[in-house]
C-alpha cells in the first residue's frame, strides 16, 4: 500500500538552513571585514592587515551563524552550529603561526641552503661561507647514541609493564616514567653535566656522549609510553593463540607480540627521536660547541644542529647577516630532518603494519 502523498507536510522536518548558507555567510563576513580594514588602512595611512581582517571576519561569522541558525533552526541547532564554527576557527588560529613560521624559515633559510652548507664545517671560517656539516654529523651521532641507549631500556621496560609487571615494582616504574616525562630538558642537561663533571672530576666537561645521556633521559619515557600503548594494542587473542600452541611466554613476546606491534613501536621511536633531535639547552650545557668536525663521541666538544642555529644567531661576528643566514639555513635543515623522520615513521607504519582484515 502506498500511503500518504509525499506532498503533505512531513511532521519530522524542521526549519533548516540550506547547505550553502554557512559558506556564503563566511565569505560575506570576510569581504565585509576586508572592506572595513581597507577603509581604515586608507584613512590612517597604515598597512592593510589581511591576517587580522580574516581573523575578525571569522569571528563575525561565528556570531552571525549562531544568530541566523537561532532564528531559522532553533536554539539547539544554533548551539551546534556555533560550536562547529568555533571548532573550525580554533583550527584556523592554530594554522596562522604555522604558516608564518614555515614561510619565514623558508624565505630566510633558502639563501644559504646550498651544497657548501652541507659539505663544510665552520672551521677556520670567519664571516661568509662555511657550513653545518660538523653540526649535522654531531646531531646524528649524538641522537644515534641516545637512541641506542633509550630504545632497549624503553622497549624492555614497556614489555615489563605490559607482559610481566604486577604489584609494587610495576606501579613504581609507571609512576617514575610519569615523573620522567615531566623532567624539563634543561634539568636533564644539568644532571648530565653534574654527573659527568663529578665522576670525571672535570668542571668544564663537554663531550658528545654526555649529550646523548641527557637526551636519553628525555627520550626513554616517550619510548616507554608509546611502546606500552602499542604492546597493549596487540589483541590478547594472539597471545592466547600462541600459548595454546605450547609456545613459552618469552618466545610469544619475541615472535608474536613484538612483530605484531613493530610498526607502532618504530613509529613511536621515530617520533621520540624527532622530539629530542631539536633539543638545544641540554646540549649547550653538556656537549658544548665547536667549529670543527668531531666524530668522537667520547671526548672533545661536539656541535649539534640546534646549538649551531643558536650560536650562529647569538654570537655573530662583524658580518652579522651571514651568521643569521646560516642560522636560518640551519633551522630549515633541522625542520627538514625532523619532517623526513616523521614521514619515515609514517612509511614504516604503513609497510610493517600487519595486514588485518580483508
Amino acid at each position: 500500500m502506498r500511503p500518504v502523498d509525499s506532498s503533505t507536510v512531513n511532521a519530522l522536518t524542521t526549519g533548516r538552513l540550506p547547505r550553502w548558507a554557512p559558506w556564503v555567510l563566511l565569505g560575506g563576513s570576510w569581504i565585509v571585514l576586508c572592506v572595513v580594514f581597507g577603509f581604515v588602512a586608507a584613512a590612517s595611512d597604515s598597512e592593510f592587515n589581511i591576517a587580522a581582517a580574516l581573523f575578525l571576519g571569522t569571528i563575525l561569522f561565528d556570531v552571525l551563524i549562531f544568530v541566523v541558525a537561532y532564528l531559522v533552526e532553533g536554539a539547539r541547532q544554533a548551539r551546534d552550529r556555533l560550536i562547529t564554527s568555533l571548532v573550525a576557527t580554533a583550527f584556523i588560529i592554530a594554522l596562522l603561526p604555522l604558516v608564518s613560521l614555515i614561510s619565514t624559515v623558508l624565505v630566510n633559510g633558502l639563501p644559504r641552503f646550498d651544497i657548501q652548507f652541507f659539505s663544510e664545517s665552520m672551521r677556520n671560517v670567519v664571516g661568509e661561507g662555511g657550513g653545518a656539516l660538523h653540526a649535522i654529523m654531531g646531531t646524528l651521532l649524538i641522537t644515534l647514541a641516545a637512541t641506542l641507549i633509550s630504545v632497549p631500556i624503553g622497549l624492555l621496560t614497556a614489555i615489563y609493564l605490559v607482559e610481566y609487571g604486577r604489584g609494587s615494582l610495576a606501579r613504581a616504574i609507571t609512576f617514575l616514567v610519569d615523573v620522567m616525562t615531566g623532567i624539563p630538558s634543561i634539568v636533564a642537561g644539568l644532571f648530565a653535566y653534574a654527573f659527568f663533571s663529578l665522576i670525571l672530576s672535570d668542571p668544564g666537561v663537554r663531550f658528545g656522549l654526555g649529550g646523548s645521556v641527557a637526551l636519553s633521559l628525555l627520550m626513554i619515557p616517550v619510548v616507554v609510553r608509546s611502546s606500552e600503548e602499542m604492546l597493549k594494542l596487540v589483541p590478547n587473542e594472539l597471545r592466547e593463540a600462541s600459548y595454546a600452541l605450547g609456545v613459552p611466554k618469552w618466545l610469544t613476546i619475541l615472535k608474536i607480540v613484538i612483530p605484531t606491534s613493530i610498526a607502532g613501536i618504530t613509529t613511536g621511536v621515530t617520533l621520540a627521536i624527532s622530539r629530542v633531535i631539536g633539543e638545544t639547552a641540554p646540549l649547550l650545557l653538556i656537549a658544548g660547541f665547536t667549529a670543527s668536525m668531531n666524530y668522537n663521541l667520547f671526548e672533545e666538544k661536539m656541535m649539534s644542529l640546534p646549538v649551531f642555529v643558536y650560536t650562529q644567531y647569538a654570537n655573530p661576528g662583524t658580518d652579522v647577516q651571514s651568521y643569521l643566514d646560516r642560522a636560518w639555513a640551519g633551522a630549515l635543515a633541522l625542520i627538514v630532518i625532523v619532517m623526513v623522520l616523521n614521514l619515515v615513521a609514517r612509511l614504516i607504519a604503513k609497510i610493517f603494519s600487519p595486514k588485518l582484515g580483508r
Binding site: 663544510e120 668544564g204 654570537n315 655573530p316
Partner: protein, 339 residues
C-alpha cells in the same frame, strides 16, 4: 672541504692542540685568530671556549686550560696563588690583546644624531630618566626635536664583560647616579629597562623596537644610530683610534711585574681624542709550562694575535681597535718570556 688539509707550502713545524677559555667578548676575534693561525700552522688545533672571564681565569688557575682570556685583570689574591699549568715559582704573563669600543646605539623616530653624557646615560639605564624629551637630554641636544615618547633602555640579560665595562664607566664618571659596583651582571635588575640576550639580542631589540637605546660592542652597531659621548667639553663618537688612545693614555696597575701589563683605564679622561667607554680584554699565560710542548705553541699564538697582522685581523673581523705601536712593543717584550 675546509677541515684539515695542510697547504703544501706551509713551513710551520708547530703541532699540537692548545686549549684556552675565557671572555666571550674576545670570541669573534679569537675565531678569526684561530682560523688564521691554523691555516698557517695546519697541524695545530686551537680551542677557545667563550665560557666567560671568571670561568676562564678559574680554569687557568686550576690548570684546565693553557691560556685564558679575561675582561678583568687578575686580582691581587689570584696573583698570590699558584697557576696549575705553570712550573712552580715561575711567573705569568698578562697582556692586553683586544680593545673594543662600546657603542651606545639608539633607534628613535625622527632622531638621527644624539648626544649623551655619563649622567644622562646613567639616568636612562637606571630608570630615572624615562622619556626622550626629558630636560636633561634636551639640554645636550640643541636643535634636535626629541619625541615625548617613553624610553626603552635595553641592557644585557646574560652576564657579560660589556656590561661590566659599561657599568664601570658610569660608576666612575657619574657616581652620584650610578651607585652600583661594576659586575658582569647588569646591576639594576628590577629597573624598568628591557633585557636582551647577548650582543645580538640587544642589537635586534634596539633595531626592532621603537624609541630604544642600548649598549653593544661597537662592531655590531650596524646601521643603527650611535650616540656621541661627552668627553671633556666635546661630544666624541667612538672610533678605534680614540679607543686605543684612551688605553695608551691610561696608567698601569701598580705593583705588578714587568710581564703583567694590566691597565687601570682612565674613564674620567677629558681629552676629546679619547673614547673612554671601552673594553680591554687580556690574555693570560704562563712563562714556563709544565708540559714543555705547550710553551712554544702559546708563545707563537699570543705573539701572532698581538702582532700587527693579528690586530688587523681582529679589526676587520671583530671590529676591534688595534693596539697602538707603543703598547704593541711592550706586549712583544712581555711575551718573549713565555717558554
Amino acid at each position: 672541504s675546509n677541515e684539515g688539509g695542510a697547504p703544501a707550502d706551509s713551513e710551520s713545524t708547530l703541532s699540537g692542540t692548545l686549549d684556552g677559555a675565557g671572555a666571550s667578548s674576545q670570541d669573534s676575534a679569537q675565531q678569526a685568530w684561530v682560523a688564521a693561525f691554523q691555516i698557517e700552522n695546519p697541524d695545530v688545533t686551537i680551542n677557545y671556549e667563550p665560557s666567560g672571564s671568571g670561568a676562564g681565569r678559574e680554569a687557568f688557575i686550576a690548570g684546565g686550560v693553557s691560556f685564558a682570556g679575561t675582561d678583568s685583570a687578575l686580582s691581587d689574591e689570584e696573583i698570590a696563588g699558584e697557576f696549575g699549568s705553570c712550573v712552580a715559582d715561575t711567573g705569568y704573563v698578562q697582556v692586553p690583546a683586544y680593545i673594543s669600543p662600546i657603542a651606545v646605539i639608539f633607534n628613535v623616530e625622527g632622531v638621527e644624531e644624539l648626544n649623551v653624557d655619563a649622567t644622562v646615560l646613567a639616568g636612562i639605564f637606571k630608570g630615572t630618566i624615562t622619556t626622550w624629551d626629558d630636560a636633561a637630554i634636551v639640554a645636550l641636544n640643541e636643535g634636535v626635536t626629541l619625541p615625548s615618547a617613553p624610553i626603552t633602555a635595553v641592557h644585557r640579560s646574560d652576564d657579560s664583560g660589556t656590561t661590566k665595562n659599561f657599568s664601570d664607566y658610569l660608576g666612575k664618571v657619574a657616581p652620584d647616579v650610578w651607585d652600583a659596583e661594576a659586575t658582569d651582571t647588569f646591576p639594576y635588575p628590577d629597573a624598568k629597562g628591557e633585557a636582551a640576550q647577548g650582543t645580538s639580542g640587544v642589537v635586534s631589540a634596539v633595531t626592532d623596537g621603537t624609541n630604544t637605546i642600548g649598549y653593544a660592542d661597537a662592531s655590531k652597531a650596524g646601521d643603527l644610530g650611535v650616540a656621541k659621548l661627552k668627553v671633556g667639553d666635546e661630544f666624541v663618537s667612538y672610533s678605534p683610534e680614540a679607543a686605543a688612545a684612551v688605553v695608551d693614555g691610561s696608567p698601569a696597575v701598580e705593583g705588578r711585574d714587568a710581564t703583567d701589563l694590566a691597565i687601570k683605564l682612565d674613564r674620567n679622561t677629558t681629552d676629546p681624542t679619547h673614547y673612554p667607554l671601552v673594553l680591554v680584554s687580556y690574555i693570560i699565560a704562563c712563562q714556563e709550562y709544565t708540559d714543555a710542548e705547550v710553551g712554544p705553541l702559546v708563545h707563537d699564538y699570543v705573539a701572532y694575535l698581538t702582532s700587527e697582522a693579528g690586530q688587523a685581523e681582529a679589526a676587520s673581523s671583530a671590529g676591534a681597535a688595534p693596539l697602538s705601536s707603543e703598547l704593541s712593543a711592550k706586549v712583544a717584550t712581555a711575551i718573549e718570556s713565555i717558554k
